[in-house]
Amino acid sequence: MPRLGPDAGPIVAITVDGRPLEARAGDTVAAALVAAGRLGFRTTPRGRAPRGVFCGMGICFDCVVTVNGISGVRACVTPVAEGMRVDTGSA
Protein backbone atom coordinates (compact mmCIF):
# COMPACT_ATOMS: atom_id res chain seq x y z
CA MET A 1 0.00 0.00 0.00
CA PRO A 2 1.31 3.50 -0.81
CA ARG A 3 1.35 5.99 2.05
CA LEU A 4 -1.85 7.99 2.26
CA GLY A 5 -2.48 11.65 2.91
CA PRO A 6 0.19 14.32 3.30
CA ASP A 7 3.91 13.67 2.86
CA ALA A 8 5.31 10.65 4.67
CA GLY A 9 8.25 11.25 7.00
CA PRO A 10 11.91 10.44 6.20
CA ILE A 11 12.92 6.80 5.76
CA VAL A 12 14.01 4.80 8.81
CA ALA A 13 15.78 1.51 8.02
CA ILE A 14 14.82 -1.45 10.22
CA THR A 15 15.06 -5.21 9.76
CA VAL A 16 12.11 -7.56 10.13
CA ASP A 17 12.95 -11.24 10.55
CA GLY A 18 16.40 -10.47 9.15
CA ARG A 19 15.15 -8.68 6.03
CA PRO A 20 15.49 -4.93 5.52
CA LEU A 21 12.34 -2.81 5.66
CA GLU A 22 11.97 0.90 4.97
CA ALA A 23 9.80 2.39 7.69
CA ARG A 24 9.00 6.07 8.05
CA ALA A 25 9.90 8.41 10.89
CA GLY A 26 6.93 8.55 13.25
CA ASP A 27 5.83 5.00 12.42
CA THR A 28 5.10 2.51 15.12
CA VAL A 29 6.42 -0.98 14.47
CA ALA A 30 2.81 -1.99 13.76
CA ALA A 31 2.35 0.79 11.19
CA ALA A 32 5.59 -0.19 9.44
CA LEU A 33 4.56 -3.85 9.27
CA VAL A 34 1.02 -3.11 8.07
CA ALA A 35 2.40 -0.67 5.47
CA ALA A 36 4.51 -3.57 4.18
CA GLY A 37 1.38 -5.70 3.85
CA ARG A 38 1.95 -7.73 7.02
CA LEU A 39 -1.20 -8.19 9.09
CA GLY A 40 -0.25 -11.31 11.13
CA PHE A 41 2.64 -10.69 13.54
CA ARG A 42 2.82 -13.93 15.53
CA THR A 43 1.21 -17.28 16.29
CA THR A 44 -0.12 -17.99 19.77
CA PRO A 45 1.75 -20.44 22.04
CA ARG A 46 -1.14 -22.86 22.66
CA GLY A 47 -3.50 -22.78 19.68
CA ARG A 48 -0.85 -21.76 17.07
CA ALA A 49 -3.36 -19.16 15.91
CA PRO A 50 -2.25 -16.14 13.87
CA ARG A 51 -2.57 -12.73 15.53
CA GLY A 52 -1.86 -9.14 14.57
CA VAL A 53 -2.93 -5.63 15.49
CA PHE A 54 -6.27 -5.63 17.29
CA CYS A 55 -6.80 -2.61 19.56
CA GLY A 56 -3.96 -0.54 18.10
CA MET A 57 -3.51 1.48 21.29
CA GLY A 58 -1.57 -0.68 23.71
CA ILE A 59 -4.52 -2.24 25.51
CA CYS A 60 -4.82 -5.81 24.22
CA PHE A 61 -1.20 -7.10 23.85
CA ASP A 62 -2.12 -9.12 20.75
CA CYS A 63 0.47 -7.45 18.49
CA VAL A 64 3.54 -8.29 20.57
CA VAL A 65 6.83 -8.87 18.71
CA THR A 66 10.50 -9.16 19.65
CA VAL A 67 12.40 -5.87 19.34
CA ASN A 68 16.22 -5.87 19.57
CA GLY A 69 16.01 -9.20 21.38
CA ILE A 70 13.37 -8.13 23.92
CA SER A 71 10.22 -10.22 23.55
CA GLY A 72 6.67 -9.18 24.36
CA VAL A 73 6.97 -5.66 22.96
CA ARG A 74 3.71 -4.07 21.81
CA ALA A 75 4.22 -3.22 18.13
CA CYS A 76 1.35 -0.71 18.17
CA VAL A 77 2.91 1.65 20.74
CA THR A 78 6.59 1.19 19.94
CA PRO A 79 8.14 3.77 17.59
CA VAL A 80 10.62 2.54 14.98
CA ALA A 81 14.26 3.59 15.25
CA GLU A 82 17.14 3.40 12.77
CA GLY A 83 18.69 -0.07 12.83
CA MET A 84 15.92 -1.62 14.95
CA ARG A 85 15.67 -5.42 14.71
CA VAL A 86 12.10 -6.72 14.77
CA ASP A 87 11.35 -10.43 14.95
CA THR A 88 7.86 -11.74 14.42
CA GLY A 89 6.77 -15.30 14.95
CA SER A 90 5.87 -16.95 18.21
CA ALA A 91 5.28 -14.98 21.37
Binding site: F61, D62, G72
Partner: protein, 485 residues
Protein backbone atom coordinates in the same frame (compact mmCIF):
# COMPACT_ATOMS: atom_id res chain seq x y z
CA UNK B 1 13.09 10.07 46.13
CA UNK B 2 9.54 10.74 45.02
CA UNK B 3 8.81 13.79 42.93
CA UNK B 4 6.22 16.21 44.34
CA UNK B 5 3.66 16.56 41.61
CA UNK B 6 1.17 19.10 43.02
CA UNK B 7 -2.00 18.31 41.13
CA UNK B 8 -1.13 15.16 39.21
CA UNK B 9 -3.21 14.51 36.10
CA UNK B 10 -3.04 10.98 34.73
CA UNK B 11 -3.94 10.95 31.04
CA UNK B 12 -3.28 13.73 28.53
CA UNK B 13 -6.40 13.31 26.40
CA UNK B 14 -9.24 15.83 26.22
CA UNK B 15 -10.16 15.47 29.92
CA UNK B 16 -6.60 15.55 31.24
CA UNK B 17 -5.51 18.50 29.11
CA UNK B 18 -8.63 20.45 30.12
CA UNK B 19 -7.98 19.66 33.80
CA UNK B 20 -4.38 20.83 33.46
CA UNK B 21 -5.44 23.99 31.63
CA UNK B 22 -7.89 24.93 34.36
CA UNK B 23 -5.59 24.06 37.27
CA UNK B 24 -2.54 25.85 35.88
CA UNK B 25 -4.73 28.87 35.21
CA UNK B 26 -5.62 28.78 38.91
CA UNK B 27 -1.92 29.12 39.70
CA UNK B 28 -1.37 25.60 41.04
CA UNK B 29 1.60 23.41 40.04
CA UNK B 30 0.49 20.57 37.77
CA UNK B 31 2.17 17.38 36.63
CA UNK B 32 0.75 15.65 33.55
CA UNK B 33 1.49 11.95 33.08
CA UNK B 34 0.76 10.06 29.87
CA UNK B 35 1.89 6.82 28.30
CA UNK B 36 2.34 8.38 24.88
CA UNK B 37 5.29 10.57 23.99
CA UNK B 38 3.01 13.24 22.58
CA UNK B 39 0.09 14.68 24.55
CA UNK B 40 -3.44 14.32 23.22
CA UNK B 41 -4.58 10.80 23.98
CA UNK B 42 -6.48 8.92 21.28
CA UNK B 43 -8.97 11.64 20.38
CA UNK B 44 -6.24 14.20 19.68
CA UNK B 45 -3.90 11.78 17.94
CA UNK B 46 -2.63 13.42 14.74
CA UNK B 47 0.28 13.66 12.29
CA UNK B 48 1.54 16.99 13.54
CA UNK B 49 0.98 20.61 12.51
CA UNK B 50 -0.27 20.98 8.97
CA UNK B 51 0.02 17.28 8.17
CA UNK B 52 -3.52 16.15 8.91
CA UNK B 53 -5.87 15.38 6.05
CA UNK B 54 -7.53 18.76 5.35
CA UNK B 55 -11.12 19.00 6.56
CA UNK B 56 -10.89 15.73 8.48
CA UNK B 57 -11.79 15.06 12.09
CA UNK B 58 -8.09 14.88 12.93
CA UNK B 59 -7.54 18.37 11.54
CA UNK B 60 -10.50 19.80 13.51
CA UNK B 61 -9.35 18.05 16.69
CA UNK B 62 -5.86 19.43 16.09
CA UNK B 63 -7.14 22.98 16.41
CA UNK B 64 -8.90 22.12 19.68
CA UNK B 65 -5.78 20.49 21.09
CA UNK B 66 -3.61 23.43 20.07
CA UNK B 67 -5.89 25.78 22.00
CA UNK B 68 -5.67 23.62 25.15
CA UNK B 69 -1.89 23.33 24.90
CA UNK B 70 -1.57 27.09 24.39
CA UNK B 71 -3.68 27.63 27.49
CA UNK B 72 -1.42 25.36 29.54
CA UNK B 73 1.52 27.08 27.84
CA UNK B 74 4.43 28.17 29.96
CA UNK B 75 2.67 27.92 33.28
CA UNK B 76 3.80 25.81 36.23
CA UNK B 77 3.51 22.46 34.55
CA UNK B 78 5.70 19.34 34.40
CA UNK B 79 5.19 16.94 31.50
CA UNK B 80 5.92 13.29 32.20
CA UNK B 81 5.21 11.81 28.77
CA UNK B 82 6.20 8.32 27.72
CA UNK B 83 5.41 7.39 31.33
CA UNK B 84 3.31 4.37 32.23
CA UNK B 85 1.50 4.44 35.58
CA UNK B 86 1.77 0.82 36.68
CA UNK B 87 0.87 0.93 40.36
CA UNK B 88 0.00 3.13 43.30
CA UNK B 89 2.47 2.03 45.92
CA UNK B 90 0.58 4.03 48.50
CA UNK B 91 -2.62 5.84 47.68
CA UNK B 92 -0.72 9.14 47.38
CA UNK B 93 2.32 7.69 45.60
CA UNK B 94 2.10 6.66 41.95
CA UNK B 95 4.71 4.37 40.46
CA UNK B 96 5.65 5.23 36.88
CA UNK B 97 7.86 3.50 34.37
CA UNK B 98 9.62 6.07 32.21
CA UNK B 99 12.72 5.94 30.05
CA UNK B 100 13.63 2.51 31.37
CA UNK B 101 13.36 3.43 35.04
CA UNK B 102 10.82 3.40 37.84
CA UNK B 103 9.89 6.87 39.10
CA UNK B 104 7.62 7.79 41.96
CA UNK B 105 5.30 10.80 41.98
CA UNK B 106 3.50 12.06 45.08
CA UNK B 107 0.26 13.94 44.54
CA UNK B 108 -1.54 16.51 46.62
CA UNK B 109 -4.60 16.11 44.42
CA UNK B 110 -5.02 13.47 41.74
CA UNK B 111 -7.10 13.81 38.58
CA UNK B 112 -7.65 10.43 36.92
CA UNK B 113 -8.38 11.04 33.24
CA UNK B 114 -7.43 7.66 31.83
CA UNK B 115 -10.08 7.58 29.12
CA UNK B 116 -11.60 4.51 27.55
CA UNK B 117 -10.96 1.63 25.23
CA UNK B 118 -13.16 -0.06 22.69
CA UNK B 119 -15.84 -2.57 23.49
CA UNK B 120 -15.63 -5.82 21.54
CA UNK B 121 -18.00 -8.66 20.85
CA UNK B 122 -16.62 -12.17 20.35
CA UNK B 123 -17.66 -14.03 17.22
CA UNK B 124 -16.14 -16.89 15.23
CA UNK B 125 -12.98 -15.60 13.53
CA UNK B 126 -12.64 -12.38 15.54
CA UNK B 127 -8.98 -13.11 16.37
CA UNK B 128 -7.86 -13.31 12.70
CA UNK B 129 -5.26 -10.78 11.54
CA UNK B 130 -7.18 -8.15 9.58
CA UNK B 131 -9.95 -7.96 12.17
CA UNK B 132 -9.29 -4.88 14.31
CA UNK B 133 -11.10 -2.26 16.31
CA UNK B 134 -12.21 0.89 14.47
CA UNK B 135 -9.81 2.83 16.71
CA UNK B 136 -6.87 0.71 15.55
CA UNK B 137 -7.68 1.40 11.91
CA UNK B 138 -8.22 5.09 12.62
CA UNK B 139 -4.83 5.40 14.33
CA UNK B 140 -3.05 3.62 11.46
CA UNK B 141 -4.70 5.93 8.95
CA UNK B 142 -4.72 9.26 10.75
CA UNK B 143 -1.41 9.02 12.60
CA UNK B 144 0.62 7.02 10.07
CA UNK B 145 -1.06 7.23 6.67
CA UNK B 146 -1.20 3.44 6.59
CA UNK B 147 -4.31 1.43 5.69
CA UNK B 148 -4.71 -2.29 6.46
CA UNK B 149 -5.92 -2.84 2.90
CA UNK B 150 -7.33 -0.99 -0.12
CA UNK B 151 -10.76 -1.07 1.49
CA UNK B 152 -12.11 -1.48 4.99
CA UNK B 153 -15.46 -2.80 6.19
CA UNK B 154 -16.67 -0.88 9.27
CA UNK B 155 -19.01 -2.65 11.66
CA UNK B 156 -20.37 -2.60 15.19
CA UNK B 157 -22.32 0.24 16.70
CA UNK B 158 -22.11 3.88 17.65
CA UNK B 159 -21.25 7.30 16.28
CA UNK B 160 -17.52 6.55 16.38
CA UNK B 161 -17.91 4.29 13.31
CA UNK B 162 -19.06 7.32 11.34
CA UNK B 163 -16.14 9.45 12.39
CA UNK B 164 -13.73 6.66 11.42
CA UNK B 165 -15.52 6.34 8.06
CA UNK B 166 -15.05 10.07 7.46
CA UNK B 167 -11.35 9.91 8.33
CA UNK B 168 -10.78 6.93 6.03
CA UNK B 169 -12.75 8.35 3.10
CA UNK B 170 -11.09 11.78 3.22
CA UNK B 171 -7.66 10.13 3.38
CA UNK B 172 -8.43 7.97 0.35
CA UNK B 173 -9.30 4.58 1.84
CA UNK B 174 -12.39 2.93 0.39
CA UNK B 175 -15.07 2.00 2.93
CA UNK B 176 -16.75 -1.11 1.54
CA UNK B 177 -19.64 -0.86 3.96
CA UNK B 178 -20.85 0.51 7.29
CA UNK B 179 -22.70 -2.15 9.26
CA UNK B 180 -24.52 -0.73 12.31
CA UNK B 181 -26.37 -3.10 14.63
CA UNK B 182 -28.69 -0.42 15.99
CA UNK B 183 -31.46 1.38 14.18
CA UNK B 184 -30.76 5.04 14.92
CA UNK B 185 -33.49 6.23 12.53
CA UNK B 186 -36.08 5.00 15.03
CA UNK B 187 -34.90 7.62 17.50
CA UNK B 188 -36.67 10.65 16.09
CA UNK B 189 -37.85 11.38 19.64
CA UNK B 190 -34.28 12.33 20.51
CA UNK B 191 -34.40 15.20 18.04
CA UNK B 192 -35.66 17.67 20.62
CA UNK B 193 -32.65 17.03 22.83
CA UNK B 194 -30.32 16.94 19.84
CA UNK B 195 -31.63 20.32 18.68
CA UNK B 196 -30.10 21.87 21.79
CA UNK B 197 -26.65 20.84 20.55
CA UNK B 198 -26.24 22.42 17.10
CA UNK B 199 -22.45 21.98 17.00
CA UNK B 200 -22.73 18.23 17.61
CA UNK B 201 -25.56 17.95 15.07
CA UNK B 202 -23.41 19.73 12.48
CA UNK B 203 -20.71 17.16 13.14
CA UNK B 204 -23.15 14.28 12.61
CA UNK B 205 -24.39 15.91 9.42
CA UNK B 206 -20.82 16.16 8.13
CA UNK B 207 -20.28 12.43 8.71
CA UNK B 208 -23.49 11.52 6.89
CA UNK B 209 -22.65 13.81 3.98
CA UNK B 210 -19.15 12.39 3.50
CA UNK B 211 -20.42 8.79 3.66
CA UNK B 212 -23.14 9.61 1.16
CA UNK B 213 -20.81 11.44 -1.22
CA UNK B 214 -18.58 8.36 -1.32
CA UNK B 215 -21.61 6.07 -1.78
CA UNK B 216 -20.77 3.93 1.25
CA UNK B 217 -23.32 1.10 1.49
CA UNK B 218 -24.91 1.50 4.93
CA UNK B 219 -26.76 -1.32 6.65
CA UNK B 220 -28.71 -0.40 9.78
CA UNK B 221 -29.87 -3.30 11.96
CA UNK B 222 -27.13 -5.60 10.64
CA UNK B 223 -24.06 -7.13 12.28
CA UNK B 224 -20.97 -9.12 11.41
CA UNK B 225 -21.56 -12.65 12.70
CA UNK B 226 -18.38 -14.43 11.51
CA UNK B 227 -14.97 -13.72 10.01
CA UNK B 228 -13.32 -16.23 7.69
CA UNK B 229 -9.74 -16.90 6.65
CA UNK B 230 -6.69 -19.04 7.44
CA UNK B 231 -3.73 -16.76 8.12
CA UNK B 232 -5.65 -13.55 7.66
CA UNK B 233 -9.12 -12.25 6.99
CA UNK B 234 -10.62 -13.21 3.63
CA UNK B 235 -14.38 -12.81 4.09
CA UNK B 236 -17.04 -11.90 6.61
CA UNK B 237 -20.60 -13.03 7.12
CA UNK B 238 -23.15 -10.36 7.99
CA UNK B 239 -26.68 -10.94 9.15
CA UNK B 240 -29.72 -8.85 9.93
CA UNK B 241 -30.32 -8.51 13.68
CA UNK B 242 -33.46 -7.85 15.70
CA UNK B 243 -33.96 -5.07 18.25
CA UNK B 244 -31.93 -7.01 20.85
CA UNK B 245 -29.23 -7.66 18.21
CA UNK B 246 -30.07 -11.38 17.88
CA UNK B 247 -29.21 -12.55 14.35
CA UNK B 248 -32.30 -13.15 12.26
CA UNK B 249 -32.16 -16.66 10.76
CA UNK B 250 -32.00 -16.87 6.99
CA UNK B 251 -30.56 -13.38 6.47
CA UNK B 252 -26.84 -14.20 6.44
CA UNK B 253 -24.68 -13.01 3.51
CA UNK B 254 -20.97 -13.63 3.04
CA UNK B 255 -18.90 -10.78 1.59
CA UNK B 256 -15.22 -10.71 0.62
CA UNK B 257 -13.18 -8.53 3.00
CA UNK B 258 -9.49 -8.19 3.82
CA UNK B 259 -9.86 -5.63 6.61
CA UNK B 260 -12.68 -5.43 9.14
CA UNK B 261 -12.91 -2.70 11.76
CA UNK B 262 -15.45 -3.79 14.35
CA UNK B 263 -16.32 -2.17 17.68
CA UNK B 264 -19.31 -1.45 19.86
CA UNK B 265 -18.57 1.83 21.58
CA UNK B 266 -16.29 2.24 24.57
CA UNK B 267 -15.62 1.03 28.09
CA UNK B 268 -14.12 3.20 30.86
CA UNK B 269 -10.45 2.55 31.62
CA UNK B 270 -10.69 2.16 35.38
CA UNK B 271 -7.54 0.24 36.41
CA UNK B 272 -6.20 3.11 38.50
CA UNK B 273 -9.43 4.00 40.29
CA UNK B 274 -10.10 0.32 41.03
CA UNK B 275 -6.57 -0.17 42.31
CA UNK B 276 -6.82 2.94 44.50
CA UNK B 277 -10.02 1.51 45.97
CA UNK B 278 -12.49 4.17 44.84
CA UNK B 279 -16.12 3.06 45.16
CA UNK B 280 -17.51 2.02 41.77
CA UNK B 281 -21.06 1.57 40.61
CA UNK B 282 -22.49 -0.25 37.62
CA UNK B 283 -23.81 2.26 35.10
CA UNK B 284 -25.02 0.14 32.21
CA UNK B 285 -25.63 3.08 29.86
CA UNK B 286 -22.23 4.73 30.38
CA UNK B 287 -20.16 1.58 29.96
CA UNK B 288 -20.48 -0.48 33.15
CA UNK B 289 -18.32 -0.09 36.26
CA UNK B 290 -17.47 3.56 36.86
CA UNK B 291 -16.01 5.36 39.87
CA UNK B 292 -18.65 7.35 41.73
CA UNK B 293 -18.06 11.09 42.22
CA UNK B 294 -19.68 14.23 43.61
CA UNK B 295 -20.66 17.38 41.68
CA UNK B 296 -17.00 18.52 41.76
CA UNK B 297 -15.80 15.21 40.25
CA UNK B 298 -14.22 14.10 43.54
CA UNK B 299 -14.50 10.39 44.31
CA UNK B 300 -15.14 8.92 47.76
CA UNK B 301 -11.35 8.94 48.25
CA UNK B 302 -10.48 12.46 49.39
CA UNK B 303 -8.31 14.26 46.85
CA UNK B 304 -8.93 11.77 44.02
CA UNK B 305 -10.89 13.29 41.14
CA UNK B 306 -12.09 11.67 37.92
CA UNK B 307 -12.85 13.30 34.57
CA UNK B 308 -14.02 12.18 31.16
CA UNK B 309 -14.57 8.67 29.84
CA UNK B 310 -13.18 6.97 32.96
CA UNK B 311 -16.12 8.48 34.86
CA UNK B 312 -18.57 7.08 32.28
CA UNK B 313 -18.58 7.19 28.49
CA UNK B 314 -19.79 10.55 27.16
CA UNK B 315 -17.51 11.75 24.36
CA UNK B 316 -14.68 14.25 24.05
CA UNK B 317 -16.76 17.33 24.77
CA UNK B 318 -18.11 15.93 28.04
CA UNK B 319 -14.54 14.90 28.84
CA UNK B 320 -13.23 18.44 28.35
CA UNK B 321 -16.06 19.91 30.46
CA UNK B 322 -15.36 17.45 33.28
CA UNK B 323 -11.63 17.94 33.02
CA UNK B 324 -12.05 21.67 33.56
CA UNK B 325 -14.41 21.07 36.46
CA UNK B 326 -12.07 18.58 38.15
CA UNK B 327 -9.04 20.81 37.56
CA UNK B 328 -10.75 23.84 39.06
CA UNK B 329 -12.22 21.92 42.00
CA UNK B 330 -8.82 20.42 42.81
CA UNK B 331 -7.17 23.86 42.62
CA UNK B 332 -9.81 25.36 44.92
CA UNK B 333 -9.34 22.51 47.37
CA UNK B 334 -5.61 23.27 47.39
CA UNK B 335 -6.43 26.82 48.43
CA UNK B 336 -5.97 28.61 45.11
CA UNK B 337 -7.08 32.21 45.52
CA UNK B 338 -6.95 32.87 41.78
CA UNK B 339 -9.65 30.31 40.99
CA UNK B 340 -13.17 31.66 41.11
CA UNK B 341 -15.88 29.65 42.83
CA UNK B 342 -18.41 31.30 40.50
CA UNK B 343 -16.68 29.57 37.60
CA UNK B 344 -17.38 26.27 39.34
CA UNK B 345 -21.12 26.66 38.81
CA UNK B 346 -20.53 27.67 35.19
CA UNK B 347 -18.42 24.54 34.55
CA UNK B 348 -21.00 22.34 36.27
CA UNK B 349 -23.62 23.64 33.84
CA UNK B 350 -21.30 23.00 30.88
CA UNK B 351 -20.71 19.49 32.13
CA UNK B 352 -24.43 18.69 32.45
CA UNK B 353 -25.03 20.02 28.95
CA UNK B 354 -22.25 17.95 27.38
CA UNK B 355 -23.35 14.83 29.26
CA UNK B 356 -26.90 15.35 27.98
CA UNK B 357 -25.74 14.88 24.39
CA UNK B 358 -23.41 12.03 25.33
CA UNK B 359 -26.25 10.18 27.04
CA UNK B 360 -28.52 10.72 24.05
CA UNK B 361 -25.95 9.04 21.78
CA UNK B 362 -25.60 6.19 24.28
CA UNK B 363 -29.37 5.66 24.35
CA UNK B 364 -29.65 5.73 20.56
CA UNK B 365 -26.79 3.23 20.19
CA UNK B 366 -27.49 1.30 23.40
CA UNK B 367 -25.56 -1.98 23.57
CA UNK B 368 -27.79 -5.04 23.27
CA UNK B 369 -26.86 -8.53 24.45
CA UNK B 370 -28.23 -10.50 21.46
CA UNK B 371 -24.89 -10.95 19.69
CA UNK B 372 -23.83 -13.11 22.65
CA UNK B 373 -25.34 -16.09 20.81
CA UNK B 374 -22.53 -15.86 18.22
CA UNK B 375 -20.07 -17.37 20.67
CA UNK B 376 -19.52 -21.05 19.83
CA UNK B 377 -17.79 -23.48 22.18
CA UNK B 378 -14.55 -23.14 20.19
CA UNK B 379 -14.72 -19.32 19.95
CA UNK B 380 -11.88 -17.63 21.79
CA UNK B 381 -13.19 -15.40 24.54
CA UNK B 382 -9.97 -14.47 26.35
CA UNK B 383 -7.46 -13.57 23.64
CA UNK B 384 -4.43 -13.39 25.96
CA UNK B 385 -4.81 -16.79 27.60
CA UNK B 386 -6.58 -18.43 24.64
CA UNK B 387 -9.59 -19.44 26.70
CA UNK B 388 -12.59 -20.58 24.66
CA UNK B 389 -16.21 -20.05 25.53
CA UNK B 390 -16.59 -23.84 25.85
CA UNK B 391 -13.86 -24.02 28.50
CA UNK B 392 -15.51 -21.20 30.40
CA UNK B 393 -18.99 -22.72 30.21
CA UNK B 394 -17.66 -26.11 31.33
CA UNK B 395 -16.26 -24.62 34.54
CA UNK B 396 -19.20 -22.37 35.34
CA UNK B 397 -20.78 -24.65 37.90
CA UNK B 398 -17.49 -25.25 39.70
CA UNK B 399 -16.97 -21.87 41.27
CA UNK B 400 -18.74 -18.78 42.51
CA UNK B 401 -20.08 -16.97 39.45
CA UNK B 402 -18.10 -13.78 40.08
CA UNK B 403 -15.37 -12.60 37.72
CA UNK B 404 -12.56 -12.91 40.26
CA UNK B 405 -13.34 -16.54 41.08
CA UNK B 406 -13.73 -17.41 37.40
CA UNK B 407 -10.38 -15.83 36.60
CA UNK B 408 -8.82 -18.15 39.14
CA UNK B 409 -10.40 -21.21 37.57
CA UNK B 410 -10.25 -20.63 33.82
CA UNK B 411 -7.58 -17.90 33.57
CA UNK B 412 -9.87 -15.60 31.57
CA UNK B 413 -8.72 -12.12 32.51
CA UNK B 414 -5.41 -13.40 33.86
CA UNK B 415 -3.35 -12.35 30.84
CA UNK B 416 -1.41 -9.25 29.94
CA UNK B 417 -4.48 -7.19 29.09
CA UNK B 418 -5.81 -7.76 32.63
CA UNK B 419 -9.29 -8.49 31.37
CA UNK B 420 -9.68 -5.22 29.49
CA UNK B 421 -10.67 -7.07 26.31
CA UNK B 422 -12.45 -10.10 27.78
CA UNK B 423 -13.89 -8.81 31.09
CA UNK B 424 -17.26 -7.74 29.74
CA UNK B 425 -17.36 -10.71 27.31
CA UNK B 426 -16.98 -13.13 30.20
CA UNK B 427 -19.50 -11.16 32.25
CA UNK B 428 -21.98 -11.18 29.37
CA UNK B 429 -21.60 -14.90 28.80
CA UNK B 430 -21.97 -15.77 32.48
CA UNK B 431 -24.88 -13.40 32.83
CA UNK B 432 -26.69 -14.96 29.86
CA UNK B 433 -25.90 -18.55 30.89
CA UNK B 434 -26.86 -18.24 34.55
CA UNK B 435 -29.45 -15.50 34.29
CA UNK B 436 -27.54 -13.27 36.73
CA UNK B 437 -27.34 -9.50 36.10
CA UNK B 438 -23.85 -8.34 35.10
CA UNK B 439 -23.77 -5.93 38.01
CA UNK B 440 -23.91 -8.93 40.40
CA UNK B 441 -20.79 -10.52 38.92
CA UNK B 442 -18.51 -7.90 40.42
CA UNK B 443 -15.43 -6.22 39.02
CA UNK B 444 -12.12 -7.85 38.27
CA UNK B 445 -9.54 -6.73 40.81
CA UNK B 446 -6.52 -4.98 39.39
CA UNK B 447 -3.10 -6.53 39.79
CA UNK B 448 -0.16 -4.20 39.55
CA UNK B 449 1.73 -3.76 37.37
CA UNK B 450 -1.28 -2.66 35.29
CA UNK B 451 1.12 -2.70 32.34
CA UNK B 452 4.10 -5.07 32.27
CA UNK B 453 7.42 -3.51 33.23
CA UNK B 454 10.85 -5.16 33.25
CA UNK B 455 11.62 -6.84 36.57
CA UNK B 456 15.07 -5.23 36.50
CA UNK B 457 13.43 -1.80 36.72
CA UNK B 458 12.04 -2.65 40.15
CA UNK B 459 15.59 -2.58 41.48
CA UNK B 460 15.33 1.20 41.30
CA UNK B 461 12.60 1.40 43.94
CA UNK B 462 13.95 2.55 47.30
CA UNK B 463 13.82 -0.05 50.08
CA UNK B 464 11.62 2.03 52.40
CA UNK B 465 8.98 2.30 49.68
CA UNK B 466 9.04 -1.45 49.05
CA UNK B 467 8.62 -2.07 52.79
CA UNK B 468 5.71 0.33 52.92
CA UNK B 469 4.14 -1.39 49.91
CA UNK B 470 4.54 -4.80 51.53
CA UNK B 471 2.95 -3.47 54.74
CA UNK B 472 -0.02 -2.07 52.78
CA UNK B 473 -0.37 -5.40 50.96
CA UNK B 474 -0.23 -7.42 54.19
CA UNK B 475 -2.96 -5.38 55.79
CA UNK B 476 -5.17 -5.74 52.74
CA UNK B 477 -7.58 -8.61 52.23
CA UNK B 478 -6.73 -8.40 48.55
CA UNK B 479 -3.93 -10.45 47.09
CA UNK B 480 -3.42 -7.89 44.38
CA UNK B 481 -0.98 -5.35 45.75
CA UNK B 482 1.77 -7.78 46.66
CA UNK B 483 1.35 -9.83 43.53
CA UNK B 484 2.67 -6.83 41.64
CA UNK B 485 6.12 -7.11 43.15
Amino acid sequence: MARDGGIVVVGAGPAGLAAAAEATRAGVPVTIVDESRAPGGQFFRDRGPGRDTPGSGAARAHALKARLLAEIGGRDVTWLTGATVWSAIRPDLLALFREGRVELVRWQKLVVATGAYERSVAFPGWTLPGVMTPGAVQILVKAHGVAPGPEVLLAGSGPFLWSVAEELLLTGVRVSGLVEAGRPARWASGLLTAARHPARLAEAWRYLRVARRHRVPVRLGWAVVAAHGTDRLEAVTVSRVDAEWRPVPGTAQTLPATALAVGFGFLPSTELTRHLGCAHRFDELRGGWVPGHDDRMETDLPGVYVAGEVAGIGGAHAAMAEGRLAGLAAALALGSTVASPARLAELQRARRRAREFGDLMLRIFRFQPGLGVLVQDDTTICRCEEVTAGQLRARLGQTEPDLRSLRGVVRAGMGLCQGRTCGRLVAGLVSATLGVPEADLGMLTVRPPFRPIPVAALAGIPADVLEEAARVADSSADDAALAGF
